[in-house]
Every structure is written in C-alpha cells, then in structure tokens.
C-alpha cells in the first residue's frame, strides 16, 4: 500500500513520464480511497492546464510587476543604433 507522500510523488511524475502499469494501478487505488490525495491530484491537473493556457496568451505576461529600467532602455537603444548603422 502506497503512502500519501509516495502517491503525491507519483501523481507529479505522471505529468512528466509514463508510469508503469503497477504504479498506475496502485496510485489509482489509493486515490479512490483517499480524499486528500484525490484533491491534490485534481488540483495539480487543473493547475497544469491553467498554467499552459496562461502561457499561451502573450498579453497575459504584462501582469508581471516589473518593467525595463530607463537606463537599460537607453542602453539597448544605443546598442541597436550602433548595429543598425554598421554595413552588413
């Protein structure tokens, strides 16, 4: 019988690799009987989908609370300016 700790590991691993038949069966059995691990399993699956959907929407990254400093902005513009004037 797997412990909850082992089951949470296997649930996470199942998102990264194919589990063996034995692992799949024993995980499934545990999940049917364990309310907390079953919650964990559903939450992890839902979060994974949410993360993927979020990452696919370009505009959503603008939520990130940071922006390019004015020094960096200036520096990058200068670098671009130099390069664009060089003959290729």
């Amino acid at each position: 019988m797997l412990s909850c700790e082992e089951v949470t590991q296997l649930v996470s691993e199942s998102l990264d690799r194919e589990l063996s038949l034995r692992q799949r069966v024993s995980t499934k059995m545990h999940l049917m009987m364990c309310r907390l691990c079953s919650r964990y399993n559903k939450q992890l699956a839902g979060l994974r989908e949410a993360f993927r959907l979020h990452a696919m929407r370009e505009e959503d990254i603008d939520i990130y609370p940071a922006s390019l400093s004015s020094e960096a902005r200036q520096r990058i513009k200068q670098a671009l300016h130099h390069t664009s004037r060089e003959p290729h």
């Binding site: 909850c4 590991q9 990264d16 690799r17 949410a50 959907l53 990452a55 960096a72």
Partner: protein, 204 residues
Amino acid sequence: MNEEQSEATFQTLDPEAWVDQYGDYLYRYAIARIHEPAVAEDLVQETLLAALQGKEGFKGRSSEKTWLTGILKYKIVDYIRKKSREQPTDNIELAADAMHEHFDEKGGWKVGPAKWTVNPKELLEQKEFWRVFYSCLSKLSERLAKAFALRELDGLSSQEIREILNISATNSYVMLYRARMRMRDCLEVNWLGQRKVRKQNAVL
C-alpha cells in the same frame, strides 16, 4: 493584413522603437523565468540585436511580437544551458530540501490540501490569481523556478529539461515534484486566503 503589408511595415520600422513597443513585454517574459534583472536586460538586448541582424528572416507569418518572443525563448534556454554546465546540480541541496513540512514519518499528510476546485478557464480571467502566481514563482529557489517554468509554462519535455539543466531523470522528477508542491501551497495560501478575506468583507 496581408503578407506584403506586414513586411513593408516591418522594413520601415525604427528598431529603436522596438524597445518602447516590446521592451517591457520581453523583459517581463525573461524576468519571470530568470530572476536576475541584469541578465534579463541583457537577454532583451541580445534578442533585439539578433532580430535586427536577422530581420530578413521575418516573413510576417507570425506577429512581430511572437517572432521576437521566439528569439528570446531560444536565448533564455541557451543561457540556462550554459549556466547549468558551469554549475552542475548539487544533490546535497536537493536532499536537504525534503518535504517534512507536508508529511509525517509514515508518509501521511500533516496538513492536507484545502478544499478548492481549480477551474482553468475561470482562473485564466482572474488577473489577481496570476499576480499571486508570479509572486509564488519568484519565491521558488532559482533552480526549481527554472525547471518549473520550462516544463509548465514553456511546455518543454522532461527529456529536454534534463538536457538543458544538465540533471538526471530522477533529479528532474524530484525538482518538478517539489516545485509543484510549493506552487500549489503558495497559491492555496495566498490566492484562496485572499479570496476568503474578500468574501468575508463582502458579507460585512
């Protein structure tokens, strides 16, 4: 917009205007994955320089923003790969970082997950959730954050992640497990916690 038009717009565009138009976006994309401002700034600069030199390669099939993001993605992976070669994985760091706060000696939950339903489509529209998400991501250790972002945001395979981070298969599973555990915890405490407070306030 047809292809000719978009190409014409692109050719006449002042590359320095890119910085104003896409600078913040590219910087946020980089800093969300690499938590060092100086490195993120450099990666934005390298991306725009590469774009300038390779602008003939832009065919207007994707948007300019998507094209620049593609270059940045490549630069980020390249940076992480190089850095992981210089500083190989420390197994001791992983061992010291066990999950004792969640499970007892027998592997039973100490405090189980709270009752909340994750509805991905609904969460997608909740700006506050993603603010909490990025704050949680920035609290992960640098190595866990990189593994997590490459796998869960960029959708790379665990095989690719192993190669980029220069780690074994076992290490990659352990790192992703811990990262997911921490992210779930952090979201539960900070997002669910906040929502409960808001609901209570609404009742009052």
